[in-house]
Symmetry: C2
Subunit: 410 residues, 2 copies
């Protein structure tokens, strides 16, 4: 199977359009703050959502739509205000967003999914939102620039848009799949902790879509942490409109495998983009655990490393403080024998074993600092207990993270 | 019962001596870096230790001593190097520290407990340690100044010594109990996450001591978090030498209650001191959860609030970002209904309800900022599910925390 990355964004798959506009939800913003993704025909829809007990209004609405109908034709998104902890008024606002978007597109409101992100607890400025939705309806386009504007219209503290488009072939027909997401703070493994939308023109059953999304979330978005905080709004949506006109894929055959691999590529790219663009981050931190006794242990260990504030601060300081790595593994709750652990750091500057059999090697501190300096750094911990492997993605902890979050609302 | 705070430190209870010296474990330090606490007679000894799978050598030694013998006569402590992840050489160094101290005091080495704190993975500079122990033996004293020097000799990045002494009366006899501790980074609920020593001249059974220490650790040290990292060296020791000459307390009677209350006062004071002196902290953050359905839920909720990086950064910025508080409660794993939560902030500057029935009240942002500005700030969350209450202590997340931890080793 061959999967090609192609230019373009969320509207690359056949039959999808996108738009982004500046509705003025928060004063002072100059980038777009609303986005719309729409298909010309109804799509099979799947979704995974935050496990936080406190769920934003759009999460409640989308869950209902996907569980009851299983189809959707559009997604409308606003940034700036999360519409979380806003009570029945907040829910009514979400329904109104769906209804207004539906009116623009001439479809039923249950076919419109809604995503919101931003400050918790404030009411949406519905006047701006209403104008924004009208403008979004008028701006929908197949143009790649429109996709990029949409990808910008969902960002909060992210420093850049996150989008990807792929193409592969099944049954002699080209299939496209594309994704965009936002997420920079309040990012921690427990669902994706972000907003993400994936579109495809493949024809595939809703059941396979939902299964794939759930399985792959576990090893992509749920393996990312910026700060250990799981948000109230995390949502990842997958829409498939069938416009590639392949024969319906309804079981786990080789066609499905192509789709699964492409979906995994999209989700891994988006998840890593979120980690690399973590609030205030100067580098992407990747932790891979080798030879754990169970898959669960491998994941726990990898996540514990990238979540440790002390490890993250040490990476910011390019300090090969492997004691903190081993310490974070030790309190993860996973089983391993400290005395047989090997820890290695690597990057484009080289690779270095810091720990063998649980104690320090006689490594060169200067080389270690050099290896920790590039934009992307990998920590590999080999625990020699079994055969399971896992990778998690995070970022360093910086002054800038504190600055961003000490006065985010102002 | 009446418990009085008295001047003095760890050597206030009868028959205890203390000393602190500068042994030169890390270059450049001008404060003491070693301490010794010794009793003139053997003590009943109890201890609780880190649950991190990676345990420092002294933790292994102390656990053996306490489990096998149940008595101890001295505790020798070094800061600068944690003697963790140092293999069999590290363990041998710990045993040598015990043996050398025992020699100075003319007792068996199994009667000497050892505590180390500092950088993980480096070997102890045994030449300095040996000289330090000799000097400690010569410096032992009942003088309060010696207690203070000892309290300084166990600090790492702490900005000040943490010590307390209390007196109460049972059976007409004055009983004293005193404590000192260190802990500033790598502090998170799962045992105490620090080094702590408590001495008393009361005569009480080892069983009651161990039970009390364990129970009270759950609601004091285990309710503290600075950064979510559970260390490899956390240890809390309790030594009782019986020199007050009361009749042995061996059951949970009214005499025991006095002891329990005094021990709780000491442990609460020390735990809060650690939170307030969290690395880079500018203020103590106290979170109290009211009316949770179960004790476990109350504790989870309180801990989740003080552990959230986003809440901690908001407190640093004196930003009443209650959405982050409710969000942290939501991902804690505890049950509550967001729509019936009340959240209040208070300090010496006043008290303000931010959230009622899960949504924002129309509160005054300026007043909220004023309330969040003093050294100590309390967040109270009333979940109205049951009758259980818990309090946790933490601190704000600051630039300084990142700075301290980006180059701790250098």
């Amino acid at each position: 199977m061959s999967i090609q990355e192609i230019a373009g964004g969320i509207n690359s798959p056949k039959g999808f359009q996108a738009a982004g506009v500046l509705a003025g939800i928060k004063p002072g913003r100059t980038k777009p703050d609303m986005a719309l993704v729409a298909s010309r025909v109804p799509c099979a829809a799947a979704g995974v959502f935050t496990r936080n007990l406190v769920k934003a209004a759009p999460v409640l609405w989308d869950t209902e739509c996907i569980e009851q109908g299983g189809t959707a034709q559009a997604v409308v998104i606003n940034t700036g205000i999360a519409n979380a902890c806003t009570g029945s008024k907040g829910y009514a606002d979400t329904v109104e967003m769906a209804a207004l978007t539906a009116k623009e597109l001439g479809i039923r409101r249950e076919q419109v999914l809604v995503l919101s992100t931003g400050v918790i607890g404030k009411p949406l400025p519905m006047e701006s939102i209403r104008r924004g939705i009208q403008e979004l309806g008028r701006s929908l386009s197949r143009d790649p620039e429109a996709a990029h504007t949409a990808a910008e219209g969902i960002l909060t503290t992210d420093t850049h848009a996150k989008e990807i488009a792929l193409e592969f072939t099944i049954q002699g027909k080209p299939i496209r799949i594309a994704g965009m997401c936002k997420g920079s703070g309040m990012i921690h493994p427990n669902m994706g902790t972000m907003l993400g939308i994936i579109t495809t023109d493949m024809m595939i059953t809703r059941e396979l879509m939902q299964e794939s999304l759930k399985e792959l979330t576990e090893e992509t978005f749920n393996m990312v942490s910026v700060d250990g905080d799981t948000s109230t709004n995390d949502s990842l949506l997958l829409l498939a409109n069938g416009q590639a006109e392949n024969t319906l894929v309804s079981k786990r055959d080789s066609d499905f495998e192509c789709f699964y691999e492409a979906l995994k590529t999209v989700m891994t790219f988006l998840a890593k983009s979120i980690a690399a663009d973590g609030e205030g981050a100067t580098r992407l931190l990747e932790a891979t655990v080798l030879r754990a006794g169970t898959k669960e242990d491998a994941k726990r260990l990898a996540k514990s490393i990238i979540t440790s504030n002390l490890t993250k601060a040490a990476v910011f300081g390019t300090d090969a403080n492997w004691g903190r790595i081993l310490c974070a593994m030790g309190y993860s709750g996973a089983f391993f024998r400290p005395e047989q652990v090997e820890i290695r750091i690597s990057s484009e500057k080289g690779s270095l074993v810091l720990v063998e059999n649980g104690t320090a090697t006689d490594y060169d501190e200067e080389l270690a600092t050099a290896i920790l300096s590039p934009d992307k750094v990998t920590i590999t911990a080999d625990v020699q207990e079994g055969t399971e492997t896992a990778t998690a993605w995070g970022c360093d902890l910086t002054y800038e993270y504190v600055k961003i979050n000490a006065d985010y609302r102002s």
